[in-house]
Symmetry: C2
Subunit: 428 residues, 2 copies
């Protein structure tokens, strides 16, 4: 019986060409997060199950977590999201840390679900969180940063929409305007969250089943396209004023694709005020890409003084699909600069020459197998190396080496110094 | 009941100051592996249990793996090592890939064991593997690369020893010289592998229990300090000739701390010929740091044509302890260049100035809270920012901003251009 060669279902192997794509995505994430002063953290992929039972959405914990008992009898989980973990870490040093505290991470997360387009059982997710800013500047920074990532990926403003809403506004509507209790409110919110996945008739019907004669009132409010269309009783709410201010700040940044959307809920129960979502406008990929919002209550659950927090999570799978779908993924070739082909038994004599090339900053792959020169050239080409360098006894004696460009087949006889200059110049 | 703030037992939270240390280690690993033409890959942390039962050491699979059943009834493992995974990936594309194939990865690995110095339940490990080179140049490259990593970390030659041995030689001794069967050979090898952990008397006794009157013969051979001290019947073995050639190649590279050590076994059962180990010479940390060797049989276990392979794995925990212990860990400060302190309600007006600083390549953290200026300065200092920049209405009007060095307390009134020049210059 031979062993299976496939990766675990719903998860991915990353061969070098796949890893380069992931690295490209990670590098833009790191670059933008760092430019805003965020610093990277990390944590174990295993967390106790309790960490999620109180805060994540029920569906995720009950049906989608990887839960198991370790050999010591602890009930543990492969983290399905990072927000509870970073809240735990901040709570553990609540007093020692300086605020505003800016943290980001790129963890891998696990969810047991049916693998489908844009959804894998394992994915990586940029998590950006700002702790200790209770005013609208905090929400603004998080959304501006998310937008800046889209811009750095080369996205045009018409390729995506930034949807904005306020959980406080929604809670006010369900509780004070419609007079629903907490449980009913949650059900209504969950139903609105699923709105895009069901047809309009089915949606209206499901709302009617939940709240009966209050349906028209709710549907009327959900139909408001702009903040200015809201009834006056809502317009005066502090939450709505904050949201309106945020809209104007983003407009001033020329983020013209940011729009109020009263139907935006975001899945997690822990959001407390402003929420946002980046939505792909491409007809072939019309879907939510990622989002986040304010969750002021989470750090306090660890028994420390609560801390205002805003953040978002952005996944690698959806990001890649967005880039592919809009033709924004760059060509990412191998980073190996040079394949060295040894002629004859010169491995030891060539050693100092190769060292010089590496010290000069080149990535050099030596073929010291016993294959023929021809086969070695073919293999270098198959590996994607653009250049090969031939080193034999004669070359070593004359201190000049044949450099061959495998794309153009051009050959030059050059000193090491010239080779370093030529290849480094090409790289830039 | 409040939630626990501690990370899972035996695993680590990485706050920014810890993550910077890990990043420093990873960056040296990546830099050296890349300079040798190795390309990065990755794979899911979950693998089927079968992947390990055949190849990893029994102790690890039976007592130390994280095993569980997923919701679909599959028996899976959090990978305890990466070698079976990379072998699986190469086997899956055995025909399409070009050789020599150079792959590296920095996965996190899980082992259920009692946490102790240098051993955690979760650790990260550089894995470097060279596929398709069946001659000694392959072994040499892997060991030279491992040595180069030590050198890049600033290690001196007297700080560590590179121990070399040959599994083929050991197998020849146990099977042909001592006439032991496969099972007995394995037991003897495991006992020699534990030699450093027990006293000499206990070791001799345990060997005697295993092989009786053949003990003196074995102990005599294990006492040979150099290849040249081996009896002639062994010196003529191809395996010993290869090992001797390797020793001379490393000596030519001025890797004078590489030494033959006939007692070196390496834990895993899959090694087939040359094995090596980097050993810390510091009396306070006298232990094996990491190692590897040739394992030609693994790729073939997946039902494809076998492939000669040599590689090693180097852990982050032991690397950090080595660097700490030898005073080689550099000071790693925050990468945030500038804390911006807003004076009054100028968040929106300051926006374009901050954008200019970020576009200029600086990492800029803005304090837009409602705290007093004094508290903001204290917080910036606590965050480790070396400089703060004050932006208020007057500054915006005059287009000159006060830059304060928090270490020296020096203050300068500068234009954005001057600030960019000054801070970038400082960085270099």
């Amino acid at each position: 019986m031979f062993l299976q060669k496939t990766p675990y279902k719903g998860a991915r192997d990353f061969y070098p060409e796949d890893k380069r794509i992931q690295d490209y995505i990670f590098s833009i994430w790191r670059q933008v997060a760092s430019s805003y002063g965020y610093e990277e953290y990390d944590a174990p992929i295993i967390e106790p199950l309790e960490l999620y039972t109180a805060k994540t959405s029920e569906e995720i914990v009950d049906q989608q977590t990887y839960v198991f008992e370790d050999r010591g009898g602890r009930k543990v989980t492969l983290r399905p999201e990072m927000t509870p973990t970073v809240s735990r870490m901040v709570a553990a040093r609540r007093q020692e840390l300086a605020y505003p505290l800016r943290l980001f991470s790129i963890p891998n997360l696990w969810r047991y679900e049916r693998p489908q387009k844009g959804r894998m059982r394992e994915h990586w997710q940029l998590n950006v969180d700002l702790f200790g800013v209770d005013n609208i500047a905090g929400d603004h920074e998080i959304i501006q940063l998310a937008d800046q990532i889209m811009q750095k990926f080369g996205a045009q403003r018409d390729m995506y929409t930034i949807r904005l809403n306020s959980r406080e506004l929604i809670n006010h509507i369900t509780k004070n305007i419609l007079g629903l209790d907490e449980a009913k409110s949650q059900e209504v919110i969950r139903q609105i969250d699923k709105k895009d996945k069901i047809d309009a008739f089915g949606f209206d019907k499901s709302i009617k089943e939940l709240i009966g004669d209050k349906t028209d009132k709710l549907l009327g409010l959900l139909g408001c396209p702009e903040i200015t269309n809201l009834p006056d009783e809502l317009k005066d709410l502090p939450a709505v004023k904050r949201l309106h201010k945020l809209e104007m700040m983003l407009a001033r940044d020329e983020i013209v694709n940011a729009k109020f959307d009263i139907t935006l809920m975001r899945g997690f129960d822990y959001y407390t005020d402003i929420v946002f979502e980046i939505y792909d406008n491409n007809p072939d990929n019309n879907r939510s890409l990622f989002g986040g919002g304010r969750y002021d209550g989470l750090v306090g659950k660890f028994g420390v003084e609560p801390l205002p927090t805003a953040g978002f999570g952005m996944g690698d799978v959806t990001t890649k699909e967005f880039l592919d779908c809009h033709g924004l993924m760059p060509q990412l070739d191998t980073r190996v600069d040079l394949g060295v082909i040894l002629i004859g038994d010169v491995y030891q004599q060539a050693s100092s020459i190769i060292k010089e090339l590496r010290n000069g900053g080149l990535s050099v792959a030596v073929d010291a197998t016993d294959k023929s020169i021809d086969k070695k050239i073919k293999s270098a080409d198959k590996s994607g190396y653009k250049n090969v360098l031939f080193i034999g006894e004669q070359e070593i004696a004359e201190q000049k080496y044949k450099l061959k460009d495998l794309k153009t087949s051009q050959e030059d006889l050059l000193t090491i110094e010239k080779i370093l200059g030529k290849i480094k110049f090409k790289d830039n």
